[in-house]
Subunit: 376 residues, 2 copies
């Protein structure tokens, strides 16, 4: 395949961190890098032109949401996701599995607080070898998602990188049930890969390593999936309650993955997690953290996050961060953005979002530079 | 005054319509023109860079809102409104009176439907010769607004064009009460002008012609206000229930105003009203119609407004309007914008808003061309 290539540019002498370059039909992704989440085909509060302008190289869209609205057939009619949402740079889609199951079980945080299952447990109706039957959150209709239908949907969407259909077991699960889920996930991933390879469409597919918080099952998952011709590896599933647990699991998992293929960490991209995972060899991180934080008035700076709604910013006429070249910092002051938040103007959401994403672009560039210099 | 000048470029041979150019310290306003409303120092869902890029020459900010949040003292500290909101082009502010009174009485539409007074009647506590005492909608504190304090606030804001403090009497008002209100408004406008002229600060001031739906009182208002050295004239107050009533009142009023000064129609800028008022000699119109309509999914086109949320647009991959050069039409399809509305993405608000405002920019350019050719 010449349309997808992972080029390893530099391995740190200090850790497993590496600088690389993922080549896709829609351009290059320098790694390590951050992936913005644009669930419905847009990063919330931005348009795709603005996203392009700040140099964000990879965008994550959610197949589950696009299936229910507008429907992947409409996206296909539009000529695929790039054409429909007018993005010229690379896109990655997930399988839809994560959303189906996380709506059923809630997030790990929900689960730990006993939320989630009670609230939305009715969404998943049945899990069989074939796939998962769930109820649409939009119109209540029954939808069957299988490895084949997920890949069909992802073919309609036409992202540069796609993900095989997997099950997301809850954090609280007995080992037997976890093992059973893992085996089925491996069969589902294999079926997904086969469906994909019948019609590659210049897309690349990353496997999803599962096994929950069980080290042996994680090892088993790596062993099985690395035997298959995937183009890269994503680490998914529950990785424990704490960042230490996650660090332990990733430290164990990543050395078992081939060095010449890219590694993605699914759904995790808060700043401390990125800082701890880059030295382990994670190449890309997707997370809605920077964009969701922005909409709540949390602005990322080199000195740490600041809460723009605090009254101390009402008369601060400096930009969010001195020297930042993002459109928000280039034009507007903390005092003005504070005012927009206080006045509940939608405009504040887009200014905060564009700043936080530009911060991530700069942060990842800094990591790449530090790895090149063997500093991390 | 050299910092403000109204240049009359062409009088139509067919009507009282004229093409002009208002020169201000922040640049030119070609007339007739549409004025975007940016109540809190931003057009809702856009930022001021985007507004600049589509060529919208005049923006309306509301003194009442800026007084309560962030406070005009903070805007003054920032170096005035242009600096605070980062707008390089001209700005007009109102006196705050309209908002105080309309929050008390509701809009004419509210009044006709017996809404408004019941809901928010408690806001205005007392009207005296000195001014109006009202309760802040933000924190419940009592605020006294007088001609002098309104002008002080507008000096802090530093817009290119400012408005004297006036009373907005309700539509349903006895003639005696209307006459009493009108006389007081004239005294308030005179006090405002005096306060302004003590410290002109390169600002221009437009008088506000009142008199409600009483032709004689409108004539009286013109006679009194045109004796004073105002830089332009705005038509305010209630103009009846129908567009015909408004047309009759404006037909009567405008010939009584000096031809060498600009005329503004306050708060009215729907398309039929603009079409009927341009031939009467109105030069500028401010209205939140195009931006509010946008946020509700109503997109303006040469073929009439369309409702983007209708299912027929789900698979329409054309732009909103063929040939439109706005950023929304340049990049995105009806189907995508329909999808963003259906998925409740904030992004749809800014795309719809930028399109509708660009439509207004183009529409007013068309009117200017037609007047130049004596077609209207």
């Amino acid at each position: 395949m010449t349309y997808f290539k992972f080029e390893l540019i530099h391995r740190s002498k200090k850790s497993r961190a590496r600088v690389g370059r993922i080549h896709t039909p829609h351009g290059i992704i320098d790694t390590p890098n951050f992936v913005a989440v644009g669930t419905n085909g847009t990063v919330k509060a931005l348009n795709n032109t603005m996203l392009h302008d700040i140099g964000l190289q990879l965008m994550f869209c959610n197949t589950y949401h696009m299936m229910l609205q507008p429907g992947t057939d409409i996206v296909r009619q539009a000529g695929g996701l790039h054409s429909f949402i007018q993005r010229k740079l690379p896109i990655i889609t997930d399988s839809g599995g994560f959303q189906v199951f996380s709506l059923a079980y809630g997030s790990v945080a929900d689960e730990l607080k006993s939320r989630g299952t009670k609230k939305q447990g009715g969404c998943v109706l049945k899990i069989t070898e074939e796939g998962v039957l769930f109820r649409s959150y939009r119109d209540g209709s029954k939808v069957l998602l299988t490895p084949e239908s997920s890949i069909k949907a992802q073919k309609d969407l036409g992202a540069d990188i796609i993900i095989p259909f997997d099950e997301l077991p809850p954090y609280h699960i007995a080992r037997d049930a976890l093992k059973k889920s893992l085996d089925r996930t491996h069969r589902w991933e294999k079926r997904s890969l086969e469906a994909h390879l019948k019609n590659p469409q210049e897309q690349a597919m990353y496997a999803v390593v599962h096994g929950g918080i069980d080290p042996d099952l994680r090892k088993e998952s790596c062993a099985i999936l690395t035997e298959l011709p995937f183009d890269g590896f994503a680490v998914g599933g529950s990785m424990g309650k704490t960042k230490d647990e996650m660090h332990t699991l990733l430290s164990l998992t990543l050395p078992l993955l081939p060095e010449d293929k890219p590694n993605h960490l699914l759904g995790i991209g808060d700043l401390p997690s990125i800082e701890r995972s880059v030295p382990l060899g994670i190449d890309t991180f997707d997370s809605s953290y920077p964009t969701r934080a922005a909409r709540h008035g949390i602005l990322l700076t080199k000195q740490g996050p600041l809460n723009i709604t605090k009254s101390e910013y009402a008369t601060n006429f400096n930009s969010i961060e001195k020297g930042c070249l993002c459109p928000a910092c280039h034009h507007f002051s903390l005092a003005y953005i504070h005012h927009l938040f206080k006045a509940r103007e939608l405009t504040c959401m887009s200014l905060a979002t564009v700043h936080n994403l530009y911060f991530m672009v700069q942060l990842m560039e800094k990591y790449r530079k530090q790895i090149q210099e063997d500093l991390i």
